[in-house]
């Protein structure tokens, strides 16, 4: 398992948005997270990528060197009484409390895109891609100030990496345009390209096909496949376009009312009575599975 989600629970005040959610994402797979509106898909995404701190549960990601990463720990957990006796644990928690957060999750190799595209609209396409390459560029201020050879090399490589992804998505011509000027479909692609520039192991796409026309969706479909096949990147996506989901996913997880009601291959899901019920809302909505 590249990512395993166990007993994930998220509460907002008294509202339980996710209740004991559990599923896994296999390395090299395309996993889809589906469910009716308000089922908690985006909340689950936010927990996995560290934007929300889950109320309880366990999120384990197998990081870049195969070492397991406890996502909740690197977000900065609350101190516990036992920490008073254990200075190492205390220091660890303090460190992550001070410097932890969603960015750590990204550095570990999980990156995401957003439902409503979030680009740096007044920066150029290439700048958007460079910002994402925080880990690959040279941060030394003096090196940058004097434009040392190592610095220039790292910058040139970063541009090349950006070019690679722009080429992949076919938007290289726009490299020096402002991100906000691109057509909507291209903005979506740029956001994915930008996420890929962080060199992730797992990319989480939040409704990547929303607002795209059928031809663009078709293209996206093949891009996503290639990401898995050519670049060995695992994909977790939320999508409403069932055609796309059933077409490309290896594994589908269905959420409803904050709980996993079914999981399996696209074929199994299509034939599942529970799922049909959840979507069509036929009586016995409250039935537990």
């Amino acid at each position: 398992m590249l990512l395993s989600v166990e007993n994930l629970t998220m509460k907002f005040g008294g509202v339980v948005a996710l209740n004991q959610v559990g599923f896994g994402v296999e390395e090299g797979s395309i996993t889809a997270l589906i469910g009716p509106n308000g089922a908690g898909k985006t909340t689950a995404f936010n927990c996995i990528t560290g934007f929300y701190k889950a109320s309880s549960g366990r999120l384990t990601f197998s990081g870049r060197d195969q070492e397991p990463v406890d996502i909740l720990a690197i977000l900065g957990e609350n101190f516990q009484l036992g920490d008073l006796l254990n200075p190492v644990a205390f220091a660890r928690r303090l460190y992550f409390k001070m410097f932890g957060g969603a960015h750590r999750v990204t550095r570990a190799g999980v990156v995401r895109t957003f439902q409503n595209v979030r680009l740096f609209k007044e920066m150029t396409v290439m700048e958007n891609l460079l910002v994402a390459q925080r880990q690959q560029v040279n941060h030394n201020l003096l090196a940058g100030f004097f434009k040392s050879r190592a610095y220039l090399k790292a910058e040139a490589e970063a541009v090349d990496r950006g070019v690679k992804w722009l080429e992949f998505f076919g938007i290289l011509d726009s490299a020096n345009r402002l991100a906000g000027e691109l057509a909507y479909g291209d903005q979506r692609l740029l956001e994915i390209a930008r996420a890929l520039c962080t060199e992730p192991k797992l990319i989480c796409l939040d409704e990547p096909a929303a607002g795209l026309n059928p031809r663009e969706t078709e293209l996206l479909n093949s891009h996503i496949r290639q990401l898995r096949d050519k670049f060995n990147i695992t994909i977790l996506l939320i999508e409403h376009d069932m055609g796309l989901v059933m077409d490309i996913s290896d594994h589908v997880v269905v959420l409803d009312h904050g709980e996993v009601i079914a999981a399996g291959t696209p074929l199994q899901i299509q034939n599942s009575a529970v799922v049909t019920k959840a979507y069509l809302g036929i009586a016995d909505d409250e039935e537990e599975v």
Partner: protein, 307 residues
């Protein structure tokens, strides 16, 4: 002996707190509805102090002898003109900026407060101004010997009573009237309120008018209480009132009043028992600490970040 000081500081704190509360209302309402800190609000309060002195001078020169009548007249006219100030500021400096960058309204607000401060300095002169003492008399509560007593002046009573009435009226307005409903709806979701036919621009204007009116009450009362003021008073009082709003939970009306009282009392006890020189430092430290550790304040609701 100590009990006397405690009692006296309690009275002073309540008075101070009522003033902070009245001004804090303006911050909290505006923040609640358009999510910006109306930096110029402290200066609106300062202007209302000037206005009250000006109208008082006019009314007394017209030969109005009855003090209560004169005061009422001054209060009404000051509230009216200050409200126009609030309305104009929103119209000129904030409304054109809807949908602009996040920083723009804040910077514009700072610009406006510079303008107001210096407009008053140029118009009225830099020296401090004053009003003659109009109301005297006080209640004294003796404790034991005749020398030890807690004193509440008539003006202090007036301040507490007037701010209670003002807050009560505002609370009624917000909770029980159609106007208040429109305000609360706009506060919750501006787009939705507009879709449902609420004229949100008008609601925002009204919020500025109401906030300024409350600041005007504070301005009149402070002028009567201290008798003197200058064009600087808006700045420090403004920050402290904002502190009160944050302390109570920004966006919440009862919170503003509560925050005002808590801040007024703690400031008054701090200066009474610890150190007068550092009382402003103390108030600002409260602001900083609350924002760091409990930004939702005493009565506010914690915000969930939207991703």
């Amino acid at each position: 002996m100590d009990l006397i000081i405690v009692g006296q500081q309690l009275v002073n704190g309540l008075v101070l707190g009522s003033i902070y509360g009245l001004i804090a209302v303006g911050y909290t309402m505006v923040y609640g509805i358009i999510g910006m800190i109306n930096f110029a609000h402290g200066e609106v309060y300062m202007i209302s102090a000037y206005l009250s002195a000006i109208f008082l001078a006019i009314i007394t020169s017209m030969g109005v002898v009855s003090v209560p009548f004169a005061l009422l007249l001054v209060l009404v006219v000051t509230i009216f003109v200050t409200a126009i100030y609030g309305w104009s500021i929103e119209r000129v400096a904030y409304r054109p900026l809807r949908g602009s960058t996040r920083l723009a309204p804040l910077i514009s607000a700072i610009g406006i407060s510079l303008v107001l401060q210096n407009y008053v300095r140029i118009g009225q002169g830099a020296k401090s101004q004053g009003v003659p003492p109009l109301i005297d008399g006080s209640f004294r509560f003796h404790l034991g010997s005749p020398d030890s007593f807690i004193q509440i002046t008539m003006i202090q009573c007036l301040i507490i009573v007037a701010s209670l009435i003002g807050m009560g009226a505002l609370h009624y307005l917000m909770q029980k009237t159609a106007l208040g409903r429109a305000c609360r709806a706009t506060q919750q979701d501006r787009t939705m309120a507009r879709l449902l036919g609420v004229d949100t621009d008008k609601v925002i204007s009204i919020v500025f008018v109401l906030g300024s009116a409350m600041a005007a009450i504070a301005g009149v009362l402070v002028t009567l209480n201290y008798g003197s003021f200058d064009f600087h008073i808006g700045f420090v009082t403004g920050i402290k009132a904002f502190t009160a709003a944050v302390l109570g939970g920004i966006g919440s009306l009862p919170g503003a009043m509560l925050g005002g009282l808590v801040l007024g009392l703690s400031e008054s006890f701090f200066s009474g028992f610890i150190n007068t020189d550092y009382k402003d430092v103390f108030a600002f430290s409260i602001l900083v600490l609350v924002l760091i550790f409990k930004p939702s304040g005493l009565l506010g609701v914690a915000e969930v970040e939207k991703v």
